[in-house]
Symmetry: D2
Subunit: 136 residues, 4 copies
Amino acid sequence: MFKHTHQFRMRYSESDQLGSYYNSRLLEWMEVGRTELIRSTGCSYSEWEARGVMAPIVEATLKFKGRAAYDDLLEIETICSREGRARLRFESVVKRAEDGQLVAEGYTIHALINRAGKPIRIPDWINNLLTGEHDL
Amino acid sequence: MFKHTHQFRMRYSESDQLGSYYNSRLLEWMEVGRTELIRSTGCSYSEWEARGVMAPIVEATLKFKGRAAYDDLLEIETICSREGRARLRFESVVKRAEDGQLVAEGYTIHALINRAGKPIRIPDWINNLLTGEHDL
Amino acid sequence: MFKHTHQFRMRYSESDQLGSYYNSRLLEWMEVGRTELIRSTGCSYSEWEARGVMAPIVEATLKFKGRAAYDDLLEIETICSREGRARLRFESVVKRAEDGQLVAEGYTIHALINRAGKPIRIPDWINNLLTGEHDL
Amino acid sequence: MFKHTHQFRMRYSESDQLGSYYNSRLLEWMEVGRTELIRSTGCSYSEWEARGVMAPIVEATLKFKGRAAYDDLLEIETICSREGRARLRFESVVKRAEDGQLVAEGYTIHALINRAGKPIRIPDWINNLLTGEHDL
């Protein structure tokens, strides 16, 4: 298990006419959370892709809990763990930084594939960096 | 239960550098599917909002099943049903129109609220239009 | 010169908290206009890419003229012409279909490049299909 | 004239299948640049809206100069000046932070309107904060 917190501000382009964030932006924020978590291990996700490991999303579950407005400072906490031997699970919680109000939470499951698009097991170097679970 | 099929083409802006659609676009396509399903009842969702009924998303579950590329003709099937007395459930299946290949599937749950943001039960007129279930 | 008109509906995801469309969506709509214009010549832009011709945008000028709301039926008229020997120009006008109210207008300039990313002149087959100008 | 520099990372959701950023993202980045410039004056744009001054975009000119990839650290420099007595002009330059490579440049023109949607002159307090030009 590996955990990381990242702050960012909601963009005007992410609002909608109801005055909160449009629902699909949550998936984009969760991607930012994963990116920053992976960077914090010392080896960024773009380095994964350069090494030939892609991690396409296969599943997402999202719960929309509260509003957020343009320019709100948001905080996303991301937790990574293994999902079996071939998949990674990223859990996310988004809060307003100012008052801790819950905005959304959810998780995504990612397969790992090589450049040929073929599913692979979690490589040791990723497992070591990301989950710290050494009992594969 | 109410069902509707809608075709659309994948936009270049919806692709990503892996060459398929970026994951958050699925939620935007599912919104288009809901919009067209609701329009097909004879009373569009913008008419709902004009009548003071908003249907914000509270939950989504998504499964990413296959690739889609720029300009692919996609077909989204949307099914609406009641989720208890105060929520609506929209299930979606996205396929490539040409070969029927499954692209994604999932569902969203929506609360109903009034202009003051207060949760309301499914109004009769919506229940009649949309679910055809008369046993509330 | 080649001209094409395409209708589409504004998506909820394209609105913002001011209640009209968010400005960047215009570029996405203009891409849809170009895609449909090119398709109408009998050879789609994805076919261009399959033949090794990419047309990245190098310049855009946009004028935002009026509001549009979720679910408005919009009409985009796109006109293609040559811009010298190596570039294409697409002019766009977006109106509300119902009342003809002007929403936005602008143009984009596109270079043509091959798979190696090297600029190329407009190939004859594209010039014939798209501009109908035979005096290169 | 008022100037501000802001750094951010390109998101995966902002890439497209050509492997660079999709063109409409530039307008979203320019909005982030404006937001951070305005915040740096000590009165954020959301505070403008709270005070009843909205600044909708009326015009944009964009030049796409170079590529950017997922996770690139980008730097946007934004310069604000008056455009007559009723409009603001924001010029933007986007570079890759690592090597200073030019990615894009452009400007946007914004009208100022009140809550009723009526055009207004630049209020003194905005002029003082933002342009530092005292000769209106």
